[in-house]
C-alpha cells in the first residue's frame, strides 16, 4: 500500500437497509439490539415438498416510496430492495433524495458498487416455469432486461442519476464486503467522490432448494456457535452504505459513523462450498485487513461474524478467529444471522452497516439462540451489550472460497 493511497481516508456517512426485521437504519438497529427474530414460514413459494419451511423474508415491502424515476413493475425484486436501501442511505447521509440526490457531488463522480449472490433469481424461475409448462413463447424481452445481475447496480444508478463508476460484484455470500472494498479502492484512487456500496438479494426457491439439499437449513431456530445448531435460515434484503473521502465529509459537516480503515480479500482455492479445514483463507483475509488498516488484533473491539449457524461454517470460523486473535481471545463476536438469517449477497453489507453503527453508538447486537457455546469465545449471547467500540471487523465467507474482511474504525473528532 503506497503512502499516497493511504492518504485518502474513507468515511461512512449514510446507512440504508431493508431487512427481515425492519426497514431503515433506526428500525433495523433497534430490532437487532432487542434481539427480534425475522423468521416465519416461507410465503413467497410453496414449501410443502421441503422438510424445512422457515425463511427470513422481507414482509410487506412496497417499492413505491423509493422507486420514483423508474417503473417499479419493470424491476426485479433485488433491484427494488437495492433502490430502497440506496434512497434510505442517501437520506440518512443528509444528501436528500429528490430529484437530483447529491448536490454535493457531480453525477459523473458519484458511483455505485453492489454485491449479490443470485442477482434476480425470480426472473430465471419465471423462465423455468414457462419452460416446464411448454410456454416458452411467453418469454419476452423482459427476461434479458430484468435478469442479468448487473441490472441491480444499473437500476440504482439510473434511479438516482449516478453516472460514475458502476460495478456489480457477484461474489456470492461475501459480495457486500467485496463491493465495499471495491468502492474504497475507487475512492482512494480518486475515481469518484461519492460511492454507494452494498449488497442485495431476493428470496429465491433456487437458493432455498440448494441449501435444503445440502442439509444446511435449520428447521426451527438459527443458533450460530451453539453446539446444537442445526443450520442457517435463508433470507433476503439489501443494505447500502454511503462512502465519501473523510476530508470531504468533514467539509460538508456530515455525520460520520466510522472510517473504513481497511480490507482484506483471499481465496481458499480449496472447495466450492466448504471452507478450508484450517480456515486458511479466512485467516489470510483477516490478516490482510488488519495490516491494511494498521490495526493489531488486540485493538479490535468487536467482530461481526459470518456466523451462518451451519455446523461447519461456525466451527471453521472459530478456528480461523482463534488463529488470528489467539485461542483465548475475549473480543466480543456476534452473528446477526441469528436474527435475520442469511441474506446472501446482502448479508455482509447489512453486517457492515451493523459494524458502522457499533462503532458510532458503542453498542453491539447479540447472537440469539445461544445456549451452549461450542467455543470459549465471547459470543455476546442473547443480549445486546454496551462497550467502547473503537474498531469493528466484518467477516464474510462465500461459495467459491471467496473470503473478505472489512475494518471500521471510530473517527477522531476533527
Amino acid at each position: 500500500m503506497s503512502a499516497a493511497a493511504r492518504a485518502r481516508r474513507i468515511a461512512v456517512t449514510g446507512l440504508g437497509a431493508v431487512t427481515p426485521v425492519g426497514t431503515g437504519k433506526e428500525e433495523v438497529w433497534a430490532n437487532l439490539l432487542a434481539g427480534r427474530l425475522g423468521f416465519a414460514p416461507v410465503a413467497s413459494f410453496d414449501t410443502h415438498a421441503f422438510s424445512v419451511h422457515l425463511g427470513a423474508e422481507v414482509r410487506s415491502f412496497s417499492p413505491a416510496p423509493y422507486v420514483r424515476r423508474l417503473d417499479p413493475t419493470r424491476l426485479g425484486r433485488a433491484s427494488q430492495l437495492a433502490i430502497a436501501a440506496a434512497r434510505l442511505a442517501l437520506a440518512d447521509a443528509g444528501l436528500g433524495d429528490e430529484p437530483a440526490p447529491v448536490a454535493a457531488v457531480a453525477p459523473a463522480l458519484a458511483g455505485v458498487a453492489m454485491g449479490t449472490t443470485s442477482g434476480e433469481p425470480r426472473e430465471v424461475e419465471r423462465f423455468d416455469d414457462r419452460y416446464l409448462a411448454g410456454e416458452l413463447d411467453l418469454v419476452g424481452a423482459e427476461f434479458m432486461t430484468l435478469y442479468p445481475c448487473h441490472m441491480i447496480a444499473a437500476h440504482v444508478a439510473r434511479e438516482l442519476g449516478f453516472a460514475g463508476v458502476n460495478t456489480m460484484i457477484p461474489a456470492a455470500c461475501a459480495a457486500g464486503n467485496y463491493a465495499l472494498a471495491h468502492a474504497v479502492d475507487v475512492l482512494r484512487a480518486g475515481r469518484a467522490e461519492l460511492m454507494l456500496a452494498g449488497g442485495a438479494d431476493a428470496f429465491s426457491r433456487i437458493t432455498y432448494a440448494g441449501f435444503a439439499r445440502l442439509g444446511a437449513i435449520a428447521p426451527e431456530r438459527c443458533q450460530p456457535f451453539d453446539r446444537r445448531r442445526k443450520g442457517m435460515i435463508p433470507g433476503e434484503g439489501a443494505a447500502v452504505l454511503v462512502l465519501e473521502p473523510l476530508d470531504a465529509a468533514r467539509r460538508r459537516g456530515a455525520r460520520i459513523y466510522a472510517e473504513v480503515a481497511g480490507y482484506g480479500l483471499s481465496c481458499d482455492a480449496h472447495h466450492m462450498t466448504a471452507a478450508h479445514p484450517e480456515g486458511d483463507g479466512a485467516v489470510r483475509a483477516m490478516s490482510r485487513a488488519l495490516a491494511d488498516a494498521g490495526v493489531a488484533p488486540e485493538q479490535v473491539s468487536y467482530i461481526s461474524a459470518h456466523g451462518t449457524g451451519t455446523p461447519t461454517n461456525d466451527r471453521l470460523e472459530a478456528i480461523a478467529v482463534g488463529r488470528v486473535f489467539g485461542a483465548g481471545t475475549r473480543v466480543p463476536i456476534s452473528s446477526i444471522k441469528s436474527m435475520i438469517g442469511h441474506t446472501m449477497g446482502a448479508a455482509s453489507a447489512i453486517e457492515a452497516a451493523v459494524c458502522a453503527l457499533a462503532v458510532a453508538t458503542d453498542e453491539v447486537p447479540p447472537t440469539m439462540g445461544l445456549e451452549d457455546p461450542e467455543n470459549d469465545f465471547d459470543y455476546v449471547p442473547n443480549l445486546a451489550r454496551r462497550l467502547p467500540v473503537e474498531v469493528a471487523m466484518n467477516n464474510a465467507y462465500a461459495f467459491g472460497g471467496n473470503n473478505a474482511s472489512t475494518i471500521f474504525r471510530k473517527c477522531e473528532v476533527a
Binding site: S118, F127, M144, P148, L265
Partner: protein
Amino acid sequence: MQRETAPPHQGPSTGAAAGRRRVVVTGAGVVSPLADSPAGLHRALAAGISARKPIELFETSGIGCHEAGEIRPFDPQAYVGERNLRPLDRTSRLLVVAAQLALADSGWAPAGQPRPAGTTPGAEVGLVVGTTFCSVRTIAEFDRRALRLGPSHASPLDFANSVINAAAGQAAIWHGLRGVNSTLAGGEASGLQAIAQAAELVRAGRADALLAGGAEELCFESFLGYYRAGRLCGSLDRGAVERPVPFDARRNGFSLSEGAALLMLEEASAAAARGAAVRAEVLGWGAAFAAASGEDGMADAVARAVRLALADAGAAPAEIGCLSASASGSVTVDRAEARGVAAALGERAAELPVTAIKAMLGEGLGVSAAWQAVDLVETLGDGVLPGIAGLEQLEPGLPLPLPETAPETTRRLEPAARRRALVTAVGADGHCAALVLGAAP
C-alpha cells in the same frame, strides 16, 4: 466539465504516471471459436475469419436464429489433462483452460509444479473474472430438476455452480490461485471492468500477479433471451439477412459467442525480478455509466470513460495509435460508441485506425473485452490491426474514419501508431469502460 483528472492528493504534478507502481502484461490465454492462442486468434482476426456456425450445443427450433460463435469441438482435457472435470460446468471449463494457457504463457507454472526460478517468495496469483451470467444454464437446470423431481433430487453439484462467482472459484481450486478472487458483472463491459479492477489492485500494492479477463458460455437460456429481446442479428426484422456487422448501415444485432480470455497482469519490478517477458503495459483505465437512457446518454458515458482512461494513462489523444472498439452490430450502441470515442479524442478521431473484432468473433459478453485486449497486445507487437469483416456499407455520418467498404481492411500500423492503443467496452445496459495499453518498454 467535472474534474476528471486525478485529484491533487494523488501524486506529483509531473504526470499521472509518475512514481506509482506499473502494471505489465506478461502473458495471455485464450479460448475462442476461432483459435486457442493469442497469436492464433490474431491471425484469424487479421484474415477476417468468421466464428459463426450452426449451433449444435442446443436445439434452436422455434427460434428464428440458428448460428453463433460456438466453440466446437471443445476438449478441455486436451489442455488440462485427465483430472476430473465433472464438477465444472461449461463456463468453468472455459475459464480453467484460459487460466492454464495464461499461466503457461506467462511463465508461471501450472498448479502442482514448482514455480519458475526468481518468483517473489510469498507472491500469490489471484484471479479477476468478468462475466454476465457465469452459467444461467446451470442455474436454470438446477431449478428445473428440483421442480420436476422434487427438492430432494436437486443437484448439489449444480447448486455449487449456481453462484455467479462459480467459474472464478473453480478456476482458483483447479490452479491453486489463493490471491484475490473476484468476479465482476457488467454485460459487454465485464471483461474490461475485470482488467481495470485487477490493474487497480496491482497498482495499489494489493497484489503482484493477477489473471484478469472474462468468461462466458453459449447456452439456450441466454440465446433465447437475447433473441426475444431483439438483440440477436435478425431477431427484430425477422427474415432479413442476419448482419452482425459493426458500424454497417444495415446491421441488425449481434451474433452471440462464447469463450474465455485472461491476461497475466504483474507489477513491473516483480515481473522483471522473475525474468518474465513483458508483452505490453497497462497504462490507464476509466469507467462511466450511462445513467440517462438513449443514445446521447450512452455516447456521453463512452466519452467520459475514454477521457478518464487517457488522463489516467497520462496520454494525449494524439498519442493513441489505434482503437479496438466494442461495436458488435448492435443498432444503437455502435453509433453511440463511435460518437463517444470521437467526442473524447477530438481531432485525433478523424484519422484513428479502428477495428471491431466482434465482426469476426461475435458478442462474447463477459469475455468480449478480454478478447479485444489480448488481440490488441498482439497488434502492439506486430503492428497488424485486424479489419472489420463484412463491412460493406458504412453507416453514413459516423464520426470515425472507417473505410467505406471493407472486406479487406486489415492494415499495418506505422511504428509511431504502435506505442499506445485504446480498448473500449460498452454494455448495452449502460456500463462503459476504456483501457489504454502501451507497447512493451
